[in-house]
Assembly symmetry: D2
Homo-oligomer: 346 residues x 4
């Protein structure tokens, strides 16, 4: 069988998710990048903004245009929250499949979404239609999805880490704790003081302890798996590194379990989830630039608290890589196509 070439469009693309998506798509054997839009940078060469793409991505940013996007097989939204919901209807009606890397379609409860994101949802009718793009949970639904809501970075690391425990029903779901640490690229390529080098380097801090937007996304996902509500304390931290998320997860065991075996069995067929040997401590650089989630599971002092260590690259498995993984599934390609880069270490 010859693989058909997928015609790809990107809306947005001047942020870190955008450049990472371009890096991956430019190396994907079955994609043709047709158009990348940016109202603000229209006319500028993509490789002028991102010199790592020199010689590899000849496109220029263009003004958003329905015509150009409608000719694509799939359109990625690498935009700030609140953009995709305005464009989705028209593309949907034109038969273009979509992957929103932002948050517009992740939360099924529209009122809840509006509360956390502080805006009115422009396209609530497609929220129900959207498939939450965590392949390890929703692979079958993703195949035929017309609109995929690509998971957030923290939600990917946290859900994959808790998943086997929640599925097995062996932990107290009222008292989950996710202590998560993210590299600064997670805050995006926006000019802001608190993410300046001189603010974030040689420094470490928690933020949004009273409440972070990824909290309802995580609890929605875990509750769906559990079949009942879950309660999570979620504390994100800003870490002086460029890429990477390290989620340290705590759960109270409610029954006996062979935790190592549980994790290994759950993920044995997953190409992008790597259960490390017992006693391991995954480091974020072991997935830098790669689409993997590496997980280790511990039970310190044989107590009743499980500690799960889950690492991803926030821009790859936590954003652009998972989006490409979803595209591969949607178009019937081998799931790892174009995603076989080995992490850069050191």
């Amino acid at each position: 069988m010859t693989q058909k070439t997928i015609k790809v469009g990107i809306v947005g693309g001047t942020g870190y998710t955008g450049v990472e998506l371009l890096r991956l798509l430019a190396q994907h054997p079955h994609c043709e990048l047709r158009v990348i839009t940016s109202r603000k940078e229209a006319g500028m060469g993509v490789a002028e903004m991102f010199p790592n793409l020199r010689g590899r991505v000849p496109l220029k940013f263009t003004e958003p245009s329905a015509a150009a996007l409608n000719g694509c097989d799939v359109v990625f939204f690498a935009t700030p929250n609140g953009v995709a919901m305005n464009d989705a209807r028209a593309l949907y009606d034109a038969g273009v499949r979509m992957i929103d890397i932002a948050a517009d379609f992740r939360i099924r409860d529209v009122a809840l979404w509006e509360k956390w994101y502080g805006m009115k949802h422009a396209c609530p009718e497609l929220v129900a239609e959207a498939v939450y793009g965590l392949p390890e949970v929703n692979r079958e639904k993703i195949r035929n999805a017309r609109l995929v809501a690509n998971p957030g970075c923290y939600p990917t690391a946290v859900q994959l880490g808790f998943l086997p425990l929640v599925e097995a029903g062996i932990v107290d779901l009222e008292h989950l704790i996710a202590d998560a640490k993210s590299g600064v690229s997670g805050a995006g390529r926006k000019a802001e003081v608190h993410t300046l080098f001189a603010e974030a380097a040689d420094n470490f801090k928690a933020y949004s302890v009273p409440g972070h937007r990824h909290l309802p996304e995580i609890t929605q996902g875990l509750a769906q798996i559990a079949g009942k509500p879950v309660k999570l304390v979620f504390v994100p931290h800003l870490t002086p590194m460029v890429r990477g998320i390290h989620a340290t997860l705590y759960a109270r065991l409610t029954g006996p379990a062979d935790l190592q075996l549980l994790y290994e069995k759950r993920y044995v067929d997953e190409a992008f989830v790597d259960v490390m040997p017992a006693g391991s401590h995954p480091d974020t650089r072991s997935v830098r630039g790669a689409n993997h989630c590496r997980i280790a599971v511990h039970r310190p002092q044989d107590g009743d608290t499980v500690v799960v260590l889950s690492v991803i690259d926030n821009l790859v498995k936590g954003a652009a890589g998972q989006a490409v993984q979803n595209m591969n599934i949607m178009f019937g390609m081998a799931e790892a196509t174009g995603l076989e880069q080995i992490a850069l270490l050191p």
Copy 2:
């Protein structure tokens, strides 16, 4: 009253705790640095090794010598674990007061110490005599102590963070969690692969999840306050910054409490513990080079889990600064003498 000048000796001093102690003592108005020993570097000028001290510390490292140390009012051990216990007896008998910045005298249960530190204790009889040098808990005992066991860096941040909760008896002591993040200087100035720049930079990882030496030190301290055993899950992480510890603490509330008020009242008279306004997120750089511990207390989603954020500079309040604070107390000086440097930000 004229302040008498304290004659100070340092054993060790070629590590990060040493250079930090020298920085503080060189600026202390009532100390005279008499001798600093290093078997390995004897003959080398201190400022040759640490050029920040050029023009400020004229001493050379010398071979350890009982005569020189016996002439001191106080001797600091800035040595690896297992050194002070060999020298302590003689200095004790010579009437020299001591502050051990290493771990030799921190754990009262000698068998427990021997298990965690993997060596035979050379001076168990002085363990009972030693005072654990956390001023916010043991100030009165420190005044007359002949031997102070200066707390570890993690134990300082974690104990100060949990202290008000444990004293108030309002949390489940069986299930405390301390998710702690340390800058790489916490690993010391030893040539090792895992703390090389190219290993630790742009990376984040947990370590020693099965068990870390600071665990028994912390639980000993908290149990003493609680009057009963406590159980703690302690997960340390290596963070790509030079200095700083950020402890994120989790405890389950067992009764009602005005947490902000509780913390503010507990530390109102403490010069070096700063309870931040409600809703704050202290960053480690806000204490870089300073002897402060800054703490914020949160109760996310009004649930039953308290989240405490506690930051220190591991080399100051977590080591050399606290040692100087202890010296000030021992010699009847104002507790903040020589410790009034403002943190370096950015």
Copy 3:
């Protein structure tokens, strides 16, 4: 003699120069900080913005007010370029002495200034009056100055490095080269993309090779010393560290010289210029947070090219510290008053 307390005002002060000036002034024994203005942050507590100052600087930012500033003995401008020139006349007429840490009064040729800074000078008549505040060159003039133009960070490191060679007249003044590397705080606390952590970390780049504003400042200073024009190639680089400038200087020798002796003699009486032993390589952290410039001079392979290594902390000797040094000189205090902090290493 009792030291009179100096009443100090700061205009601006929400940037890195501002917080550093506050850190130093709060520890200065003879200063009283009376007012700090910020149009944008008026009403906010200084320590709210900069938590390292909690408990040390009780002031709030206030709206700029002539009355408040006129009551000061000295006013520091820690503002962007182009602000001081608008306020200077009125303060001058009110008899308030001024130290402009920005560039408004550094270049004596107003037309040249206007070309490089891209704006019309609002107060050219005070340019002639201003004294360039490099104490190692202009100490006597600074004593009585009513308006001090505090040197730029690169110009401080580069001029102090070249000074002995230029004074001695032993290098080719047509072909000086300054390859300078700055920490990211040198770019200020402005929300910009290129100084985000995720842009500047783990990266290194030159910038402004065609021309940087500090070039005319440096050549003006060196030409004044030489008594004739000099030509300099100046290449600044952005370095992934918070603070610090490392200037690597190259000059062609035109005659014989004992370079080490030349440097040592030139700076023997300077408290803040430290000529390192022959063969040294000063590192920027050896001056982190301190007002020192450390210099080493080399002549590789005994060739005809001198290599000078000159390091400063861009925020201290390169900005706020030098400003305090100038204030000390202006008000007849010991030059090192309040500037005796030891660099933070590591």
Copy 4:
């Protein structure tokens, strides 16, 4: 034509050059990694040491064995200096082609090599045989080479930067200056104090100004091109980043030239040398993980000094990537095979 699979062996491989070579070879379509030796780590899985290789490199380190290596088509030495020279003779006689990523065969003047490297050369007769593996200069000789001396990291960046100027004969060859900055991985994966995170982070320093081993390698290469001796002042600096070299090169023009055109023409056919548009400032991250050298050429203030900015990833084009490029040339494969990874940015 079907591409034959190349059987590859690696001697050494526990350092950064080794893991990078493994990353590249594991993604190379026409290589089969047969053996990787390490006396010290024999028996350990490669992916245990380097978890980024989990699932991709199933080999274990083995004791060095002539039999295993003799069965290879090519053997890479990713060893410290002084190892390859001991093994080369036997492999040479067995008909195995070799690429030494260390320095043993780079300097044609054996006495000079012995002076700079401080050891007796064990195999001087193969020095003359060895081809210096800079493809942009020696491509044709590399094709048939039995032993390739892979260039050093600094020498690659510096030579590629100076090459067009030297070939064109338009600069003063007596006074070249290379001010070079390297990430810390350039120092290797050896446990040493000066490259610890807490020493090298947030710091910048020059080193080896009196003389660095790469100096004779660079001048040998440039002299060969020039057809006469050249003199270079070479000042390397340690930069707080993991990967990357930025060489800032200075040369005095001796005649007129269209520099931009000169560079573009020289490298128009080179896949791995990218001449940036006039006015550019390449950043090291634009080649992070990629085999490219990006170059910009400037002539500040239209003076007589050319400034060339040349960046590479020290572990790729400066080591393992260039070694693979040489292998591709030696075995008649397309030169970019397995080297098409796009740099990781951010």
